[in-house]
Structure formats: structure tokens, C-alpha cells
Amino acid sequence: MNRISASLATLMLLAATPVAGLDYADESLPDPQQEAKAVQLMDSLRCVVCQGQPISGSNAGLAGDMRRLVRERIAAGDSPEQVRAWLVNRYGDWISFQPQVKPATAPLWLIPLLAVLAGSWLASRRLVHRKR
């Protein structure tokens, strides 16, 4: 009787582990489209332990936890930007390599635009002078 219940317990344990023991920290999602979305997001999230690396390329334990979180959320139907927002809410903008558009970051887009405008204005003036 004891033996039967022990083997039953083992069976139940096996059944409780995720399908084929997949740990999404290091294994792909079965759906290639979802996996592509997840990888793209993981490439643009900073590992908060070894801060120069994205979580996709970091061996830190917390980076693995974040990869698991990203894959599970995307498999559950969340959009990559929803997952990014969840992490930004907890760790701040620093965790995302992709700058968010907001007043403080507006110069990132405005300065190149202004530089091109100013440059073409200067160039056009010079060209007009030459023609004379």
C-alpha cells in the first residue's frame, strides 16, 4: 500500500511539472511567432545585474527569471510593450534599451531634426551667395 501511494505521488509530481519540463528561462516557446516576439523584447531589456547586457545574453539568475517572465506573458497573450511597461513600472526606464517617447526624451528625436533643418538653411544660404 505504501509503495503504491509512493509511486502515485511520484506520478503526480511528474504530472505537476510543466509540459516536457520546459523552463522558459532557457527554452523557446513552441510557437515560433511568439518566440520571435519574445526574443526581440528580451534583446531590448537590460539585465539589472550585469548592466551592459540584455537579458537575452546574460547568465545572471535574475535575467533568467526575466526571460521566463517575458516568455510566459507573451505565451499568455500579452503584447511585448505590455511586458516592457510592467518591468519599467518596477525598475524604471533604465531597464529598457529602447527609449520611451516622453517630454524628457524628446530631444533624442528633435535634435537630429533641428540639425538637419539648420544645416540645410546654412547650405542653402551659401549656395545662394555663390550664384550671385
Binding site: V48, V49, Q51, G52, G61, L62, G64, D65, M66, R68, L69, L87, V88, N89, R90, Y91, G92, W94, I95
Partner: protein
């Protein structure tokens, strides 16, 4: 005269940019990432019961009207062992401390608590780091002060030392 100055303007801008990049290169890029959850409600977090006969800590328990501590630690973490005696002193001063043990096992945790003392009212095992991420914590040890209404009011990053005691006691509303 003004035209002359204007001619130098691009050069000056270039020099400023160069100086900025130079300074950036020589400034170590190592940030302490504080949790953005400070000032917000303690998020729901799920952990597994670590010790039999005790439940795992839950966010709902932090609404009791009295400030409490939530300590994120691990049995494999050396500074966590060192801050143990500080936590014991906080407990002796009347603080309630609950623990979240990250990437830990029941057996390792039992050994750790037997060796370093057990200041915790309850400990939850955070196997996948889910509770840690919910809190916006980046490592161990970290200690969160949660006010009586369930709001995180302070985050201590790194081991609690003698120098941190006055701040923590004040945030807990305990007179030293």
C-alpha cells in the same frame, strides 16, 4: 564680427560633444537601480511556504496599521548572513520582519536560519524570482519598509548595517 563667431560655433559644439563623450567613457556605468515601487502599494506577491506550520507572507497582511519589514534574502548570500544580527536587533526592538528567500530550498534555508538565527515571522520561498521582480528588487539582500496601510515607504539596498539602524527604526516608528 558676429559672422566670425558663427563660424566657430560648429567647432565649439563639436568640442562640447567630445568632452561629454570623453567624460561618459571614464565614468563607470554602474547604477544602483532603486525600485520604482517605493511610494506605491505593496504588490501582490506569491511565495511558497518555507517552514512547516507557518504560512508564506502575503501582501494582504501588511495592512495591519503598523509598519513592517519585508526582507529579500537568500541562504546562499554572504551579506545576508552578515545582516542577520542587525535583523535580530530590529526584531528585539519590536519590528515584525517577514522574509522572501530568492532561489532557495527548504533544506538550505533551514540550515541558514539555524546558523544565523531566525528573525522572521514568516518566510516564503521565491523559486522563480517572481516575488522579487514584483517588488522591483534587483538583488539580495534588500529590505522594504511597508507602512501600516500596505504602502512601501522605503527600500534599503544591500545589507543592513549599524549606520542604517536609525533610519529603519524611525521608518518603523520605533524609538531607539
Amino acid at each position: 564680427m558676429i559672422r566670425r563667431l558663427l563660424l566657430w560655433l560648429p567647432f565649439a559644439l563639436g568640442a562640447v560633444l567630445f568632452a561629454a563623450f570623453w567624460a561618459g567613457l571614464h565614468h563607470p556605468d554602474d547604477h544602483v537601480i532603486a525600485s520604482k515601487m517605493v511610494g506605491q502599494a505593496l504588490p501582490d506577491f506569491e511565495t511558497r511556504t518555507a517552514m512547516q506550520g507557518q504560512g508564506a507572507p502575503r501582501a494582504a497582511q501588511f495592512h495591519g496599521g503598523k509598519p513592517r519589514l519585508l526582507n529579500v534574502f537568500a541562504s546562499w548570500c554572504v551579506p545576508c548572513a552578515q545582516e542577520g544580527q542587525m535583523l535580530m536587533r530590529l526584531k528585539a526592538a519590536g519590528a515584525q520582519i517577514d522574509g522572501v528567500a530568492v532561489h532557495d530550498t527548504q533544506a538550505d534555508l533551514a540550515r541558514f536560519l539555524a546558523e544565523n538565527g531566525n528573525p522572521y515571522a514568516s518566510v516564503g520561498l521565491d523559486i522563480d524570482g517572481r516575488a522579487q521582480m514584483a517588488l522591483g528588487s534587483t538583488g539580495v539582500p534588500e529590505t522594504f519598509v511597508v507602512d501600516g496601510q500596505g504602502r512601501i515607504v522605503h527600500q534599503q539596498i544591500g545589507a543592513v548595517t549599524e549606520a542604517d539602524m536609525p533610519t529603519l527604526l524611525a521608518k518603523l516608528g520605533i524609538r531607539p
